[in-house]
Symmetry: C2
């Protein structure tokens, strides 16, 4: 392949300044964060207030949808739950149709749309139809989960990289560079990792990971019904089965909650 | 090592509900996001409004500091810039002293404090002093950068994991699992990667990476002076030197900007 060099400096993607506003006939892909409405970005709140139509996912919480303007049309395109499933193709078609009808369209995705959000298919649909779009990043589940246990995803002298990964891909369980992940001090956030817990455990132990490696699973991160399971690699599948989480869960490999992480919560409860 | 199992289900870190408020005598570690004030979370805005004292970093933008309440005391503890440098020890000592004086303390860190934010040293200082704290996650630079070029950090059928890494650690250039990173379709976000660009390039090519692998560097992501450099692994060090970025820059390995990413910006400029 010959080396390519196109437009070495592009400045065109700089954001517009002045008050943020949605554009009629365009789509904003907006991250709704992990669930707590206070973890929306200001831009996400403005998007919800200004939208003519909002297509939202199953995992977007009710308290967030309440921020939509009175005249906004809300469309549930969640892949599970009540009502018939809306296919990815149908979602793409609706986004384009609404935009071409001149509406201010918000596509609300839980977490950060750029991380395990299946964003590309929808952006490509806009691109192919000549529909303008923008992406408003959101707080991803890993950030909320780790904040909730008083830890960091990276730490000087411990890990100079962190991985965000899924337990499965289109072909089944996803393969990763297990040998690197198995080393002491590594940290990874596994999205949608409940079903693949035993697989991930097996691969890591096979590649020499310490069975006592701390693992924390945070269900409903940032929400009022958040639950935290503190375990080790050794006991991960059993403890996870016992916890019987039914909400979205984020697995933090290599991290245990700080005991002090709960102190402020207790303080706030006293004050409330 | 014997297997350990402590408090398998902890619910204590669930966030307090009702209106968010800072607690006197406690520290809130707050992510200020990549620079655009509209990318603050609602919780971060409320924190700034309620704080008695705000300790902020060099990279926190002026438009964000303007959101602080009128009576808030602002302390620049940036590691560079005008005035004498404030050491990490001094920052920790000040956080604890302000909290013990009964103030509502905000420690404002650019991006997400849990990602390359040197958060742990300060949390540990609070912990050791018996000072309660909470962590408010922020939008990390990688999310803002990738949103600005119309791309995703993960994509079905392309990559089931993404790495956030630094080019250097305490001992010099940081080593990573280069062989895994060198594979086609891998995506990584390199923080503070300007100085290590040639090192990263060398390691990846040595491990078989395609020299034509797309690389995008986003300077001042989300800010009005954002600049995007589109290049390839082959030309990374030269093009980066030529661009002479002096703002914070985020390197996206494995991603090129979508041409369509600029369309909405142009539209908004027309409307403004």
């Amino acid at each position: 392949m010959t080396q390519q060099r196109i437009s070495p400096i592009k400045t065109a993607t700089a954001p517009a300044r002045g008050p943020f506003c949605l554009v009629a006939g365009a789509v904003a892909f907006v991250g709704s964060g992990p669930g707590d409405a206070d973890l929306l970005t200001v831009k996400a709140v403005k998007s919800l207030q200004q939208a003519d139509v909002i297509l939202f996912d199953r995992l977007v919480s009710a308290e967030i949808l309440e921020l939509a303007g009175d005249s906004a049309q809300l469309e549930n395109v969640g892949k599970e739950g009540f009502g018939p499933q809306v296919s990815q193709e149908e979602i793409c078609a609706r986004l384009v149709a609404h935009a071409q009808a001149g509406l201010k369209v918000v596509r609300l995705k839980s977490g950060d749309p750029t991380i395990f959000g299946r964003l590309d298919e929808e952006v490509t649909a806009c691109e192919q139809a000549g529909v303008a779009y923008q992406i408003v990043p959101g707080i991803t589940a890993a950030s909320a989960a780790v904040a909730g246990i008083g830890q960091s995803l990276t730490q000087r002298g411990r890990n100079t990289s962190v991985r965000f990964m899924t337990g499965h891909d289109m072909k089944g369980f996803a393969d990763h560079d297990w040998a690197a992940l198995a080393r002491p001090g590594q940290v990874a956030a596994v999205y949608m990792g409940k079903k693949s817990a035993r697989f991930v455990q097996g691969r890591l132990i096979m590649h020499g990971a310490d069975r006592a490696t701390p693992v924390t699973i945070v269900e409903n991160a940032s929400r009022s019904d958040q639950r935290v399971l503190e375990t080790t690699l050794d006991r991960l599948p059993q403890d996870l089965a016992e916890a019987a989480f039914d909400g979205p869960a984020l697995t933090l490999l290599g991290l245990a909650p700080r005991d002090s992480a709960a102190a402020l919560y207790d303080l706030q409860m006293e004050l409330a």
